[in-house]
Structures are given as C-alpha cells and as structure tokens.
C-alpha cells in the first residue's frame, strides 16, 4: 500500500521492480531504493547488529546509518536506503546465524552483562596459550557481510574536471549559492548524493500550510536547470576534501577528480537520535526519515505514531503524518517550555496530545525485539533523570529528533574546527582554509529564508575571491534553536544505545572513562565508538556529552572526534579506477617472441632471458654463451637507461655527479661512470660518451635510470649549472653485437665508419649510419669480447635488429638473452650494481678505486668515499670457484666464519667456458686472500668450501675485447 500522489516524488508507479530479499519476492517501483521498497511491504527488519545481533531497521532513510547494510549478491555492506534495486536482484541480510528473522546469535543480547565494554581485553588469555584457540572462535563472529572471493573487477573510470565553484549539497543553501555564483558568470558544479535537487525542500515541511517548500523548490530548481553556467551532478557524493579543493566526486562507476577554485559546502546536518532503553528497535526513526518515506517514496510508515523531540521540527512531522492518515498518539517534547505557539496550536487543533518536559524512557518491543509496540513516557526530573511514574502509550512508530549535528566531515578534513557551545547546544565551524566556504544548516543556520540568504552570502565570498566585483553580505544570524542539550536517558537495564554500529550503551562510554580512558580519543579506541560503518554520525555527539559529564568537563573541552576521509564508505574500484599497469616492450619485442625467447620482467620492461624452452634453460644459456665466445651474438639492450646532457656546463655536471674525471674526457671517447650516493655507496653505473664538448650521452642500469635521472634534477636544482638533462631511455633502442666475428658483421652494414682496430679502438665512441639508420656506436666490452653497442632512434629499433640478423647470417649470428649476458659478464668479473652491491657497498669493497678521480674537488658522495676508504675495511667482494659437480651456492646464501655470518653470495653460475662453478661473494677481510677458502651454507644446510681466485675468471689480459 502506498500513499496517493503528490506523495512519492521519486517513484514511477508505472514501472515495477521485483527482487528477492531473504528468499522472499518483493515488488517496488522504479525510483525506490531497496529500503523504501521493503518498508512499503512492511518489511522493517534489514540487518542484525554487530555485537548483540539485535534486529535493526532504517534510522535515517538517507544512507547515513549502518542499520541498512545488506548483502547485494556478492557485494557486502550495501546501504539499502541508498541503493536502488535492480530487477531480479538477490538480496540478503548480514551477520546472522540461521536466518535474519531467526538469528541464533541473538542470544548474545542476553549475555550483555558478561560482555562489558572492553571485555575482550580482560579474558581469553589465561592460562598462556589458550588465546590461540579463542581467537579463531572470536574472529568468526567478527565482520559483517561476506565478500565474494570470485568476483571479477568491473570497468570503473575517472574524469578530471575544473570549475570556478563547486557546491556540495543541493538543498536551499546550495541552490541559492550556485545561482548567485552562476549569475555572476562563474562556472558552477552542484554535487548532491540524492537523485533530485532540493535537499530538505523535497521532503521537509517548513510552514504550517506545507506549501512553501514545494514553491521554493520548484522556483530554485527551474532556475538552476535552465542556467547555462551550472552543471548538476546528482546521485553523486563528494567523498573527501583534499588540499587546494581537490574533490573526489563519486557517481555511478566513475570518480570525478574536481579541482575547484572555490568550494562551497552546503552539506546540511544530520538529525540526531535520543538515547533511551531499546532506542534501536525497528520502527524508531529520526523525524526526517518518515518525511522522506512519505514525500519521496509514498510509503506510509506506520499506523500509530509517537514523536519524541527537542525542537519544533517534529511538530511539522506530526502534521505530515496526520495528513497522510497516520494516527498521532502524542508528541513528547523534552523541552519544559515546549515549542512556538503557532505550531503548538496547529497540532493541538488536530487533537494531538503534547506532553512537555518528558521523554521516552524505554521503548517496548514485540517478541524478539522485532518492532516497537509502545513507549514508556516519563517526566524529566533533571539532566538525564526521570520520574518514577510511567505512562505507557501504544504505537508502532516512534519519530525522534534531539537536534542536528552539522555534516562536518569535509570541513574538518580541510582543517576546520568544530566547536560546541555547552549553553545553547549549538555547533560552530571555524578555521576553514581560504577558498572553502560554508552555508546553510551545516553553518548552524536553520530557518528557510536565512538558509537561502546564507547561500547567497557564501557565493559572494567565493565570487570576491574569484575577482568579481560584488558587494559583501554580512554574516547571517539565525536564532532558531534546534538542539536539546541532554537527550540521554540512562536505564539501569541498559540497551540504551549511543552507537548503533558497535552496540555501545551509555554505561559503556561512562565505564571507559571510569577506568581511566578519559580522553575522547581513548574512549573511542577502547570502546570502538564511532569506528563502525557510519563513522560516528549519530554517536559522536552523545558520546562527547557523556565523556564530558563523566570527567567533569565541557564538550568544548573534550572535543568531538576527528574526521578523516572518506565521508562515506567508498568502493575500492572507484578509487582505483581503470588500473594502469604499464608493461614496457622494446621495439624488438616481437622479434624475440618469433625467435622463441623466454621473456622475463625487468622492472616494467619485458626482456628475453634466453632463447628456447624454459625446461632447457641451462643448455640454452650455455650454448648462447659459447656462441658469443666463439662466433657472434646479439642482445637487445634497449632497456638500458639513457640520459642526455647538453650545455656549456655538461662536463662540469658530469664531473660532480660521477666518481671519474670527465672535464678532460676527449670527444669520441667513452668512460666508465660510477655513481655514489652521499653515504659513499655505489648506486649505479654506466658508460659516459662525450659526443661534443658540451654534449654527453650516459647510460644507466635498467632499474636505476629513473632514480639517477631524478637525482640529477635534484642536484642541479641546487647547483644551477647551465645544462639540460633529459631521460632519453625510451627514445633510443640499442643492441650489443658481441663476439670475435662482430666486426665482420658490422662492416657489412656500417659503411661510413672506420671499424678497424686503429680507427675505432676499444672504449671509443663513433657516430655513423648502420643499414642506413643514424646510429651511436660504443665499443664496450661488458661480456668480454670484441663488441659494439649500437644505439638508434627507437622507431628504427626493429629495423636495426633485422639488419644485424640478416648481415650476421653468414657468420651464424645468434641472439642471446639477459641470463646469458649475466654469465658472460660474470666470467669477466664485471659487477652488476644492485646484484653484486648492496646498500652498504663502497667503491673500496668492490675494487673500483681505479674509477675514482681523487684529485677533483667534489663529486656526490666523495667526502664519504674518502673517509670510508681511509678506514680499515671489513669486507670485500671476491671471485670464487667451486669444482664442477659441487653443490652450487645460490645467490643470497651465507658465507660463514665459524658461527658468524661473514658475507653472502651475490652471483654464482656454472661456467662452461671455465668448466667450474664461478661466482662473486662478499667475504670478511680475513677471508679475501686469493687462494684461501671460505665456507658457504647452501640449501639443506649443505656446506661447501669455495676458493678465492683472482678476477676475472676468463681472459685475464682482456685481449679479446681489445681486438
């Protein structure tokens, strides 16, 4: 049964939606949310509470409480009073054992006395060891909904927006602010979490006749919708405030990331409940919830209602209820003096009884606490105290309002301070950052004309910031009192809930303070107050009042709680959006796949490990290495970092960054470039080519180039040298052509470069064309053979690869992978920075003293390197061998010296060329002598004795690379 139009502003009665809740089919209308459709069918029970498994039903009908959390298919913790049902949805309750209707765990409610606040800190751990058993039992009871572990992420995305003014909240204050700003020419976006504009104008009654809200709403909405400068974003939540008005606005499956020059928060206020025994029963709602139910969804909320209030708003709600055929049994007004004369007279004229200076002391329940069946009303005799005489009134609906708390979340996230006046029970928000404004009831302004004027005032403030010449509006005064100062009535039998999410009762809060948790933050942490899904929207105020009273302070002294983002729980999918996981492929990637490469990740890059089947790994690597040693091989080294330095100070800059001397490096020569950090630790290496007096091209490791580049920028921000620095890693593709036949291969395609040993010697740099491609050529010997690194613009990368493979055919050229390269360089004793170094390795430990220019005045880390190399060394990186067939140490295995750890293996491979196991290891200084032996513990505690040998393992004179 629904109420007749014009009730039901949101629903379309011609469009039905059917869905299942707890196995039973329900019929709703398009425009309903799940909760309104259920309530229209008298289904109040929607959830079970966290601790005592009490039946719970909607409190706010605005998605502001946790009582409506349901399981929607595989999605847990969905707000039934926020989300619309779709045809055929399968919806269940949460957190019960058996069924929602008959929850076996509801027995926990009777054991409340055995579970006082913080009980879990007192029990379950004696004797030692028993906690492990209790823990799993307790853990199973925790948590609300169940996550579908097979859920596949769906498409979510993000959009950037830039606006002059963003208005959060489309109530009367927000709409008037938006119109004022837009009229002056500002671009405005209105964000509201509801499906229509108007905020409280769409459901709240502002006058006795019940006309002004509709008139005002249609007037404002018409102007807003027609305004070319206003963009309206509904069903959307501005879910946080980040520095400089950076606002994440969540709508549908999208997150708008909005930068607003000015932001006006007109987010309204949360109506507050009253604390008394059984105040959580289904059928007890805040007044605005019944207004929303009737006006928006045409749902008749009950047959016989009682209203419990501390302000005049409930009188208007009584009129609404009466007009819609709900019997109003009584208005129980906590204020001794009652409300304004006009509203009092209006309800009295309808025969509605008003009881002043009284409260509901206890709500009476039907069997199993399923619904309210009546109230026990008593006269208030003091703060939180009542008379003994009780007056029972039957009802199936209780509407409560103890006042309003500003929706302060965004403002406090921005650094705003929420203060409370203990006299008037009113709030004030201050200390807001520039360009953030506040209007309407969140600003403590409640009467409609004042609210609209306050919206205009906030817009004028924003416009002035934007440079518009508009006249200021004085701060708006509003003397309408809405908050009752002590709506808390402790009951000796408890179940007088302060926090519904966590089932916290009055005594829980008081008791926490009595055993020493006096600070509001400690109370919160000890009792879990406000930590539930509704984030303390309804519990913060009564808890602050209770803590203040119990510790003989004022609320302004205790403070309320802090606000942290987000405003409302937000799906991970919204924040993550379209997840961007870039994979980097070199220009030659497809060729590697065609040639059967086994690829491996190297940072974001994909590189060939070797060419062949994974199960033939060792054989493939050995064959590739033998090929490079005897014939010619080619490896894709495009991932190698490349940094370009140009400018008059390029050489000076190089000289300060790297350990070697670069001022006098001749053009056309390369130099080994070692980078140390300020601790004197080796952090990267590469080859520096001097292309011109004012032009260097320096390589860096694949994994290190990002850090090297940002370090360079950081240093030059201080040095201010005249040099341009660019990370050109992706701009160049490169190969290393290596092996005794490499010159012959290159000669076929590099016509304009003299490749003779004299014309292009070891460590030289040349430019020329290779197969018609402009190329940078470096003669370097990382793998220890005659070899050329060829760097070309990336667009030519694949062409270069093809040309080299084609030219190499007659010399039996074969590609080789990263793992083979590692073996080849190991045989030469060349280190890989980060593999053979760690975060303590200084150049002395690595025998890199030769790569340090000691005479230059400065380089990064130089001071540390000098100090540390002058000290007694404690360890050293050495080469070692083990006989073929010995247990092979793995990289990371420990070197031992007696019972102590003295070092670790950094590289270790079987070398077919040397025909033994070769490796590099850190050992203590007394283990480093060539010819001595040290112990290594390998897998399964197998100990091996490695012999220290002189590096390199292969071609000691370096003749092969200098051919």
């Amino acid at each position: 049964m629904r109420l007749a139009a014009p009730m039901g502003l949101l629903i379309n009665r011609n469009q039905h939606v059917t869905f299942k809740f707890e196995g039973k089919q329900y019929d709703g209308y398009h425009g309903d949310n799940i909760a309104s459709a259920l309530l229209a069918n008298q289904q109040w029970l929607m959830s079970r509470s966290f601790k005592y498994h009490r039946p719970r039903a909607p409190l706010t009908m605005a998605g502001h409480d946790a009582n409506t959390l349901i399981q929607l298919g595989g999605e847990p913790n969905v707000l039934a009073d926020r989300v619309a049902p779709s045809q055929g949805d399968i919806i269940e309750g949460q957190n019960y054992s058996g069924s929602l209707e008959n929850d076996r765990d509801s027995i926990l409610g009777y054991f409340g006395r055995f579970m006082p606040v913080g009980f879990y800190y007192r029990a379950f751990f004696k004797p030692y060891g028993v906690w492990e058993k209790w823990e799993s039992v307790i853990r199973k009871k925790a948590g609300l909904g169940k996550l579908d572990l097979n859920f596949e992420p769906e498409y979510y995305d993000k959009v950037y927006l830039f606006k002059d003014v963003v208005v959060v909240g489309a109530g009367p204050a927000g709409l008037s602010a938006a119109l004022t700003a837009a009229d002056a020419g500002a671009s405005v976006q209105i964000v509201d979490e509801h499906p229509i504009l108007g905020g409280s104008l769409s459901y709240h009654r502002f006058d006795l006749e019940g006309k002004i809200a509709d008139q005002t709403r249609s007037d404002l909405v018409a102007k807003v919708e027609a305004h070319p400068n206003i963009e309206v974003t509904l069903n959307a939540t501005c879910n946080a405030w980040f520095a400089d008005n950076y606002l994440p606005v969540i709508q549908g499956k999208r997150m708008y990331k909005v930068r607003a020059k000015e932001c006006i928060v007109a987010s309204g206020a949360f109506e507050q409940h009253v604390v008394f025994r059984n105040n959580d029963l289904p059928g007890i709602v805040v007044c605005s919830a019944v207004s929303r139910l009737m006006k928006l969804y045409a749902v008749k909320p009950g047959r016989r209602a009682v209203l419990l209030t501390g302000n005049d708003d409930a009188y208007f709600t009584a009129l609404d209820l009466y007009e819609q055929g709900v019997e109003v049994a009584a208005i129980v007004d906590m204020r001794a003096q009652g409300g304004a004369q006009s509203v009092t007279a209006a309800v009295q004229n309808l025969g509605i009884k008003i009881t002043l200076g009284s409260t509901v002391y206890e709500a009476l329940a039907t069997k199993g606490n399923k619904h309210i069946r009546g109230v026990d009303v008593r006269a208030i005799s003091g703060q939180g105290e009542v008379d003994a005489q009780s007056n029972l009134i039957d009802c199936d609906l209780l509407c409560v309002s103890s006042g309003f708390m500003p929706s302060y979340s965004l403002l406090c996230q921005a650094g705003g301070q929420l203060s409370y006046d203990d006299e008037t029970a009113a709030f004030n928000l201050s200390n807001l950052p520039a360009h953030l404004h506040i209007a309407g009831s969140v600003n403590g302004i409640h009467s409609l004309t004042a609210v609209i004027r306050d919206g205009e005032r906030s817009a004028v403030d924003a416009l002035q910031n934007l440079g518009h010449d508009v006249a200021s509006i004085e701060p708006i005064e509003c003397d309408k009192q809405t908050n009752f100062d002590w709506p808390i009535f402790k009951h000796p039998k408890g179940k007088d809930f302060v926090d519904f999410d966590e089932d916290l009762q009055v005594k829980d809060i008081i008791n926490a303070t009595r055993i020493g948790y006096r600070d509001i933050q400690l109370v919160k942490r000890f009792s879990t107050l406000g930590m539930g899904p509704s984030q303390g929207r309804h519990s913060a105020l009564p808890a602050a009042r209770l803590v203040a009273k119990s510790t003989q302070r004022t609320v302004s002294q205790t403070g309320v709680t802090t606000a942290r983002p987000p405003y409302a729980p937000e799906k991970l999918a919204h924040i993550a959006g379209r997840i961007f996981d870039p994979v980097r492929r070199t220009a030659m990637h497809d060729r590697h796949i065609e040639m059967g490469a086994k690829m491996m990740p190297a940072g974001n890059w994909q590189r060939p490990a070797f060419y062949g089947k994974p199960e033939d790994r060792d054989k493939c690597i050995w064959a590739e290495s033998e090929h490079v040693r005897n014939k010619v091989g080619v490896i894709d080294v495009s991932t190698l970092g490349g940094i370009e330095l140009r400018g008059p100070d390029a050489a000076e800059f190089m000289n300060r960054m790297y350990t070697f001397a670069f001022l006098k490096q001749p053009v056309g020569k390369t130099r080994y470039a070692v980078l140390t950090n300020e601790h004197g630790v080796v952090v990267d290496d590469g080859v520096a080519c001097r292309i011109a007096d004012d032009h260097f091209y320096v390589t860096a490791t694949t994994g290190g180039v990002g850090g090297v580049y940002s370090d360079m920028l950081k240093w030059n921000a201080q040095w201010r040298l005249d040099v341009d620095i660019a990370n050109v890693t992706a701009a160049f593709s490169a190969i290393n052509l290596a092996g005794p036949d490499s010159r012959k291969v290159l000669e076929k395609i590099a016509s304009d470069v003299d490749l003779s040993a004299e014309g292009f010697p070891h460590l030289a740099y040349r430019e020329g064309s290779v197969a018609g491609i402009p190329a940078r050529l470096l003669r370097v010997g990382f793998v220890g053979e005659l070899g050329y690194e060829i760097h070309v613009p990336t667009s030519y990368g694949e062409a270069l690869w093809d040309a080299v493979i084609e030219a190499g055919k007659e010399h039996d050229i074969k590609p080789f992978g990263v793992e083979t390269q590692r073996l080849l360089r190991l045989e030469k004793g060349h280190i890989i920075v980060s593999q053979d170094t760690d975060s303590m390795s200084h150049p002395g430990e690595l025998d890199l003293g030769w790569a340090i220019a000691r005479k230059k005045p400065f380089y990064v880390g130089g001071r540390s390197v000098d100090i540390v190399m002058a000290r007694k060394q404690t360890r050293k990186l050495v080469g070692f061998t083990l006989p073929k067939g010995s247990a092979k140490p793995e990289e990371g295995h420990l070197v031992l010296s007696g019972d102590d750890i003295s070092g670790n293996i950094t590289s270790c491979e079987y070398s077919p060329t040397v025909d033994s196991i070769v490796g590099l290891a850190f050992v203590s200084i007394d283990q480093c002598e060539v010819g001595s032996k040290f112990e290594v513990r390998t897998d399964n505690n197998v100990m091996v004795n490695a012999r220290v040998v002189k590096l390199p393992f292969y071609d000691a004179d370096g003749k092969r690379q200098e051919l």
């Binding site: 966290f50 054991f111 006395r113 055995f114 579970m115 006082p116 009980f119 879990y120 800190y121 007192r122 379950f124 751990f125 004696k126 853990r139 925790a142 948590g143 609300l144 909904g145 996550l147 579908d148 572990l149 859920f151 992420p153 769906e154 979510y156 946080a240 980040f242 996230q413 008791n511 009595r514 055993i515 020493g516 948790y517 933050q521 400690l522 899904p533 984030q535 942290r564 983002p565 987000p566 729980p569 799906k571 991970l572 924040i575 993550a576 997840i579 996981d581 940072g603 601790h679 004197g680 760690d838 303590m840 540390s864 540390v868 990289e891 990371g892 295995h893 420990l894 102590d900 750890i901």
Partner: protein
Amino acid sequence: MPFSLLKYGLSGDYPFEKHPDLPQPTKLKKHYDVVIIGGGGHGVAIAYYLAKYHGITNVAILEKGYLGGGNTARNTAVIRSNYLTSEGVKFYSESVKMFKKLSNEFDFNIMYSQRGQLTLAHTDAAIRGFRQRAEVNKHFGGRTELIGAKEIKELVPTLNMNPGHLPVLAGLWHMDGATARHDAVAWGYAKGATQRGVELHQLTEVTGINIVNGKVTGVETSKGTVECGSAVQAVAGHSSLLAAKAGFRLPITTYPLQAMVTQPVKPFLDQMVSSSALHCYVQQTGRGEIVFGGGSDPYPLYNTRSTLELKESLLASAIEMFPFMANLRMLRQWAGITDMTADYSPIMGLSPVENYYLDAGWGTWGFKATPICGKTMAELIASGGKVPELIAPFAMDRFDEFRQVNEMGATAASH
C-alpha cells in the same frame, strides 16, 4: 565462556572499576628521577621496565596529547623479525619473543595474533634478497623460508599470482609474523607502569630541555618546570624537533606514511601479505577490516593529512593482488609521521647531552620493537649510561663511523 567473564558478569555494575587501567590525573611533582618525554608505546614501555626490573618508580611520562595517540595509534601493527642484518634480526627476534607473553604479563589481552607474513617476490633480484633474509633469520633461529609460487598458491588461494603483470615468482614466508591490538600494547604498559607508581601526565607538552654544563637537569612543560636526574625522548615523528630543543641535530628526515582500512567483512585472509614491487601491504584485522599500507609519501612533511594520489595507487595495487576486493568499501584513511634514518634502522642510546637518552628514528617500524626497546632503554637509563650489547649497533654515531645497519631492502612496504 571463559571463567573470567562469568565472574565479571556476576560481580556488579562494572567489574573492572575496582582496578582502573589508568589512574586519575595528578599534579606534576617538582622532581623526578627519570622524565620520559612521549607517552606512546615506547615511552610507557620504558617506564614499565624501569619500574619492574630496576625499581625506579619516581618517573614521569610526559605526553603532549593522549596516551598512545601518535604513531602507536596509527601504525598497522605488524610484528616480525625477518630483517637482513645480524644486528637487526637479533634485536627484533627478541621483541617477537617478548610480545608473545605480554597478555599474561599485563593481565590484559593485547590480542597477539600469529598469522605469518608473506612477502612476494616478482623479480629474480627480489628472490636473491629474500633468500639472504631467510638464511640470516634461520641462522638466528627464526622461522622464515623462501617458498615457491606453488606453495604460495596453497597458502593464500585468493591471491592473484600475476598482479599488475608482475608474476609472483617466490615469497618470503615468515611464520613468526604477527599482529596485535596496537592500542592495547600501550595501555597494558601504562597500566603496569602506573600500578608500580609511575606517573602518566597526558596533555602535558615539553617545551624546553634544561641543560647545565652539558648535562640535563630538567624540562620545561606546558604545566611548569620539572627537574630530573635523567631524561629520555621517545617522540616518534617529532624526534628532530625535540632534539633541537636539547641543542643537537639528528640524522633523520621526516615523512608522512599513510594507511587505510575497509568496512569489516567475514574473515577470509589469515596471513599478512605484501608485495615488494607493488608497494602494497594487506592484512585482515580481528574485527574483519582489511588494512592497507604502502610506501611513505615522496616528500618530507610534518603533517598527517591524507592524499588522494596515495589512495589511488595503493588501492589499485590491492585490487591487483586480490581482484575481488574491488567490491570492498574503504572506510577510513589516515597518516602518521615517520622519522626516517638513512639506513632504515633506529637510533637508540646516548646523545651529546649527558643523561639525556635517545629512542628515535623508528621510521615505519617502531611498533614491533616496543617491548625490546623499552627493556633495553630501561637498562641503559638505570645503569646510568651503560649501553646494552643488543642496542649498541644502533648508536647515533654509527653514521659518523660508517657502521650503518642497513635494513632498507627489508623494510620497504612491509614496515
């Protein structure tokens, strides 16, 4: 139902009231033997061990805000000892052992929960580092293994084995890895310390350090001057600022570190799982919430504001690791302020000021060291400056002497 609850339930209105956890506030005295600056986990632990093992109870803990309200309240409560260096492993292993017994020692349940910690390796470089950490751990008796992809799949069946195109190649499985109710650790220590006569002064800010002839004589506070025989600073996030008041500089740079938590759901994840490459760490609390942590913010700052950028990247990584979490809802985001040292190890011991001791530089890893740090610092203070062997490697002068205890690789996103 445990007997204790039955007893409590039948024994009147609120059973714990006769034995409050924390005493009522008192006035500051003129003189204390020891002043502890900072009422976080470390500060109260030092007080507890001073009273318990050394009979020193004329002690004041001075806390600017509320008990355990700094990084003790903000950390993600990881307890582990799978570090890289011998010094680190020895130190943190001792802490893990102490943690296990704290509930019974305090008569206050800290809900110590040994879940095991799994760190994922996506590259062969990570595997090398993990193998070394496993070996060092085993050498000192810890339970840590390098395990393969197949074992990981069995251990955490819900894990995506190819998150963000980064295949899970291996993992460092640290069976001793655990978590605990972080607040309860501070409360338990405070309870034990105050019951032995130590005074806890909250809302009492130290505004100056009084030094005469290079020796600390007292502190200035928002509630007046206090004299002391010795003082220790345990103010994570503000160590450099306080040291400056004592007239010296610390080798510390301070960065915010953010974390976030979801709504509670029924338990599905026992282990603490982190990915070295995705800089993401995931754990389900006893309440059923999922906690996410990641890397520090990129720039130094003394501010606990949250940022959208970090949330976006961290939650994207979380979804990569556990795709079904896309449907989960984030409830809260917060930040702590971390004092980072260059070697990712703490600074404990003597300072340039006589009788003024340092408990600083705890970066993102302070919580797990609370018991052992408290115990050894108490020993140091009680002995009048004799540095216990276990913390000697963490002296401040190690940075001058190039004796860093480098745990950079063993810290990263695992904290």
